[in-house]
Structure formats: C-alpha cells, structure tokens
C-alpha cells in the first residue's frame, strides 16, 4: 500500500507543477500579443497541458483511489476525506477549465484579460494548502 501512496504523491507533485504554471503562461500569453510570442505560448501551453498536467492528474486520481480501496468504508467515514474529495472534484473541474482555455488560445479565441488569469493563477495554491492540511493533519480523523 505504501508504494501506491508514494506514487500518488509523486504524481500529485507533477500535476500541481502543471496547474501552477499553465495559468502563468496564460498571463504572459495575454500580456505579449505579437505573433512570435503567440506561436511560442501556444506550443508551450499545449505541451504542458497534454503531456504533463493531464497524465499526472489521471495518475494522481488512479493511485489515490487505489490507496482508498485498501480501506474504502473506513476512509469514507473520515470527515476530512469528504472535504478532500470535494476539493479534488473542484480541482478536476478547474483542470478541465484550463483545457478549455488552452483550446481557446489554440484557435486564437481567447476572450479573457490578464487580470482574470491572475485570479485563476491563485486558485491551485489554495487547493494545495487545504488538501495537504486535510491529508496530513486529518482533523477529526481516526485512520492514521
């Protein structure tokens, strides 16, 4: 079980590295509008989203549920786990939304301003902080 937990954590670090840097790329992409930048950012966003962030996100989920499968009913009785799973669900929606933005940029159809991406950029840090605290501190939990 510990091996699976280790892989879950490794995948999570890779996933968040993508979730952190993609909106940063969107900020630069909206800031610098010339053709050379535009072409560069399109490639960088596509590669980061499809080759790093999405595979790492899928692996994090698979190995996370795998860890849970060892004591499924036990984990589901933990209050912190309910909150954590809700946050993960929201994070997956956030991830899918980033994919929508990547696609919009690919088709030169971005409609948002830089300020919006600054806001978007702040969200994954919030998720990370809450999720890690829940998983490590396990407030109100029984399973160690």
């Amino acid at each position: 079980m510990l091996w699976i937990k280790a892989i879950h954590i490794i995948a999570l670090v890779a996933w968040f590295s993508g979730l952190f840097y993609l909106p940063r790329l969107f900020i630069y992409h909206t800031k610098w509008k010339d053709q050379v930048s535009h072409e560069h950012f399109k490639i960088m966003e596509k590669k980061l989203y499809y080759y790093i962030t999405t595979p790492a996100g899928v692996l994090t989920l698979i190995f996370g549920f795998w860890v849970m499968s060892y004591n499924f009913s036990g984990y589901l009785q933990e209050p912190w786990m309910h909150v954590k799973l809700t946050l993960v669900f929201l994070l997956v929606i956030y991830h899918a939304y980033l994919g929508k933005v990547v696609a919009a940029f690919q088709q030169d159809k971005n409609k948002h301003k830089m300020g919006f991406y600054h806001f978007l950029h702040a969200l994954p840090a919030l998720f990370l902080i809450l999720i890690v605290i829940l998983a490590v501190v396990k407030p109100g939990g029984v399973i160690s």
């Binding site: 510990l2 091996w3 999570l12 630069y28 890690v132 605290i133």
Partner: protein, 142 residues
C-alpha cells in the same frame, strides 16, 4: 508537528513546480532565435527562479529542519533520513546550477543546447521519486 509537516509538503510541491518548469523554459529559450522572445524568456526565468523556486526552497528547508528538531536527534541516525538529506543536498546543488545557467542566459552566453536542458530536466524527477519513496516507505529502511 503535523501542521509543520503539512507546510513542509506544501512548500515542497511549490519548490518542485519551479525545479520542473525552469529547465523547460531553458529548452525553449535555447532553441529560440528571436531577440525579443529571448528577453521575455529571461524575464519568465528570473521570476520563476527568484520569486517562486528560491523562497519555496527556503521554506521547505526551514519546515524540514523544524521537523528534525521536533523529532529529536535520534532521527538523524536513521538510514532513510540520511539518504534523503543526501538527495536534498544534490537538489540544492542542482538549483544553484540552474541559477548559474540563468546568469549565463542573462549575459547572452549560454553554450548549451535545448537537448542538454531536456536531459537535465529529468534530474529533479529522479530526486522527487527517490525522496518520496524514502519518506513514505521508511518502515522498510529502518
């Protein structure tokens, strides 16, 4: 102690996000011939290095050292922690090397190819795998 552990992990994730993406920026930077674009890459690299990677590394170390302190000195005699600290030391050396590369880019004196940066981009992944396995599987190492 669990709270400090949580903050240690949070800073570690942010630290690695910098260690992962900085060499990736070098890959693009080394293959770009556009002067304006290179200026922009330099700005992106500097921001990521000085405002994200460095502070996150410092926080990871501070919280990590606090955890060792709270655990008491016997933990320093465990094999898993010694190996882990060895990897952390290599990771810091790697980070300073990235800073060295960054300065050579800012003086227009980079001599490495995109392929070189693609290779060194794999190093933090190896360190991450080693470190996480040592920490999570520590019962097997003690």
């Amino acid at each position: 102690m669990l709270w400090i552990k949580a903050f240690h992990i949070i800073s570690m994730v942010i630290w690695f996000s910098g260690l992962f993406y900085l060499p990736r920026l070098f890959v693009y930077h080394a293959s770009s011939r556009d002067a304006k674009m290179n200026e922009r890459f330099l700005l992106m690299e500097k921001r990521l290095y000085y405002f994200v990677t460095h502070p996150a590394a410092a926080l990871t170390l501070v919280f990590g050292i606090a955890l060792i302190y709270l655990n008491g000195s016997p933990i320093l005699h465990t094999a898993w922690l010694q190996l882990k600290l060895g990897l952390v030391f290599l990771l810091l050396a790697y980070q300073f090397y990235l800073g060295f590369v960054l300065r050579s880019f800012s003086r227009n004196r980079n001599r490495h190819s995109a392929v070189f940066f693609r290779w060194i981009n794999e190093l933090p992944t190896l360190a991450l795998i080693g470190i996480v396995f040592l920490v999570v599987l520590k019962p097997l190492f003690s």
